[in-house]
């Protein structure tokens, strides 16, 4: 039954993807100002050659089909602005950087969030509850592009403990990933606290206590699995948020990741790079949400999506 639910989700995503690709394709073709218009006047025969090279002289239907053909081979085409570079090369170069940043941030978010939330739930209405929960309000309300520069100002410029930017040594990883993970740590700590508080009053927890288990074991072995469900279902949106938050973080810390390329090509109106990268982002977010659905089915024995 869980399987049928998941297949249903997949069945919805495929038409969405087709629509997205179609929209993307026609936006490239009909965008005001063709790819070569912004340059100085190109001689007509060179323009003809360029058009031939990029297949812009073919009928539209043929171009559209060619686009699908290229996509199915994961070929996102050439960059219109950087000569001799393809979108694939750009992605291959920068995606690993972004993926690393995103993963470290997610680890931070889970580690800090679940620990803080767990402590708060164990000792509600104490210091362990109030302090992290006040921090979490900050994390939820303050946007990444405020937290990031403030972190840099305090820890890098004034204190001088960590580098201002770049992406070479392990020290370079700390501030960007904390910046990106902070908001999600805040959210996850609230969800963890809420989830644990609710589940602690349930019968099976009383049974576990009655068996004589220590409080710690009750929490870790019995309460966490159910109490973390809200966290798991939040992971999908969190991953989507981290992916778009990375746009800002990479900008602030000067990290050569996919987000920075995306923004650069958006500012330069490098259509093919923008579209290729967007398609990649869309697919990543779809996949993230789908993975979360799968994990959810496994974690909660009661949820068997009818």
């Amino acid at each position: 039954m869980g399987l049928r639910y998941l297949l249903g989700r997949l069945a919805v995503m495929i038409p969405v993807f087709i629509v997205v690709v179609t929209v993307v394709f026609f936006m490239i073709r009909f965008a005001p100002g063709g790819p070569f218009d912004s340059e100085k006047q190109v001689p007509p025969d060179i323009l003809k050659n360029l058009n031939a090279k990029y297949h812009l002289d073919e009928p539209l239907v043929q171009q559209y089909l060619r686009y699908w053909g290229d996509l199915s081979r994961f070929d996102l085409g050439p960059s219109f602005k950087y000569a001799n570079r393809t979108v694939n090369e750009i992605i291959a170069e920068s995606l690993p950087v972004s993926a690393e940043l995103g993963l470290i941030s997610l680890v931070w978010a889970l580690l800090i969030g679940v620990t803080a939330g767990g402590l708060a739930a164990l000792k509600p209405n104490s210091m362990f509850d109030y302090i992290p929960m006040s921090f979490s309000i900050l994390g939820i309300c303050l946007p990444t592009f405020v937290i990031g520069p403030l972190f840099v100002l305090v820890f890098a410029v004034w204190a001088g403990w960590l580098p201002v930017g770049g992406w070479n040594t392990w020290q370079d990883r700390i501030l960007p990933s904390l910046t990106l993970g902070f908001a999600y740590a805040a959210y996850i700590s609230r969800l963890t606290r809420g989830g644990l508080m609710e589940i602690r009053s349930q019968d099976f927890i009383r049974t576990a206590r009655a068996k004589g288990l220590s409080e710690g074991r009750v929490i870790v072995k019995h309460a966490l699995r159910g109490g973390l469900l809200p966290v798991v279902s939040y992971l999908g949106p969190a991953m989507a948020g981290i992916i778009s938050g990375a746009l800002v973080t990479e900008q602030i810390f000067n990290i050569p990741g996919l987000g920075r390329f995306f923004i650069q090509s958006a500012v330069n109106r490098d259509y093919t790079v923008v579209m290729g990268t967007s398609l990649l982002y869309f697919s990543l977010i779809f996949v993230a949400n789908f993975l979360v659905d799968i994990v959810y089915v496994f974690l909660d024995p009661r949820v068997r999506y009818e």
């Binding site: 919805v12 995503m13 969405v16 997205v20 993307v24 936006m27 965008a31 005001p32 309300c141 303050l142 946007p143 592009f145 405020v146 520069p149 403030l150 840099v152 100002l153 410029v157 201002v164 809420g194 989507a240 992916i243 778009s244 746009l247 800002v248 900008q251 602030i252 995306f262 923004i263 958006a266 500012v267 109106r269 259509y271 923008v274 579209m275 967007s278 982002y281 869309f282 977010i285 779809f286 949400n289």
Partner: protein, 304 residues
């Protein structure tokens, strides 16, 4: 039976002096009192009112022009002449902050309006007509929920130029989905009520019922969600402007000012701090106000 006794008891025991929390007080008045009791929300509301007022009178109180440059006085420290210092082109930061606030606020309110109109109309139609159409319309909403809207807005800005009115509409269109769901839920539960039946028996058309009877009754949740939409739109606009894809120079929103501040923060930290603080306090205030309104209008859902 016991409940009957109880009602008799309360009505007899508590005679006319019913001021606060009972029958004679309208929902709105009651909510207003509850809101005033919530200090954070009251503070947030007052601060926002103050800010809106300042934004309206900005052209008369701003000490300089928002693009007046003074190249002999770049990145100046805060002083009597320039309260918050100046930027790399010698423009007064206090003035820029005021004008930036106008743009941020305008984007916030106008885009939220777009989202309310689209969301309410969509949700009301879907909920009122019901059946297959409702099913289809809500499926569309589910699908759209899965799309990362930030990227769509960026794509729109890339292809159609960085036009501020496009920005309003695009940001508004990213926020209507939840609104549509809320309104639909409300309409579904309302449309079976007697007053709708009565309206129908008087021969009022479907549109009339939706417009005159259903939509006004969904206002509570809509207003609550609206106050939470405004900060998220302001945030989205600042996000785009920070990335250089929003408001264009020489105009500036708070996002632009923060992004300019980041470039110079090692020499002129105030250029970063003041816009960052302003934006943060505004977002805090709007969020507190929204939470307070939710608690005030829907006392049952107050606890999380």
């Amino acid at each position: 039976m016991s409940s009957e006794v109880m009602t008799i008891n309360t009505t007899t025991i508590a005679p006319p002096i019913q001021e606060d929390d009972s029958a004679g007080v309208s929902l709105w008045k009651d909510a207003y009192h509850r809101l005033l009791k919530n200090k954070l929300a009251t503070f947030g509301g007052l601060f926002i009112l103050f800010e809106v007022f300042i934004c309206i009178i900005t052209p008369w109180i701003a000490p300089y022009g928002f693009d007046t440059q003074n190249l002999e006085l770049t990145l100046a420290k805060p002083s009597a002449a320039h309260w918050l210092g100046t930027d790399t082109l010698g423009r007064d930061l206090f003035t820029r902050l005021l004008y930036g606030g106008r743009i941020s606020m305008m984007v916030g309110f106008l885009a939220s309006m777009v989202s309310v109109i689209v969301g309410v109309v969509y949700g009301a139609i879907s909920g009122f007509i019901g059946g297959k159409l409702d099913n289809f319309m809500m499926r569309v909403v589910d699908v759209l929920f899965a799309l990362p809207f930030v990227f769509l807005v960026i794509i729109l800005m890339v292809f159609f130029g960085r036009n501020i009115f496009l920005l309003f509409v695009a940001l508004g269109f990213t926020q209507w989905l939840t609104m549509a769901r809320i309104v639909r839920g409300q309409v579904i539960s309302l449309k079976e009520k007697e007053f709708v039946e009565a309206a129908r028996s008087l021969g009022i058309s479907n549109w009339g019922i939706i417009y005159r009877h259903l939509i006004p009754n969904t206002l509570g949740p809509v207003i609550v969600y609206l106050t939470l939409t405004v900060p998220s739109v302001i945030l989205d606009e600042a996000f785009l402007s920070f990335l250089g894809l929003g408001v264009q120079a020489p105009m500036a929103s708070w996002g632009t000012l923060i992004s300019n501040g980041v470039e110079v923060m090692e020499i002129a930290p105030w250029a970063l701090l003041f816009p960052a603080i302003t934006l943060s306090v505004t977002l805090f205030s709007l969020n507190f106000l929204g939470d307070g309104l939710r608690d005030a209008l829907d006392p049952k859902g107050a606890k999380d």
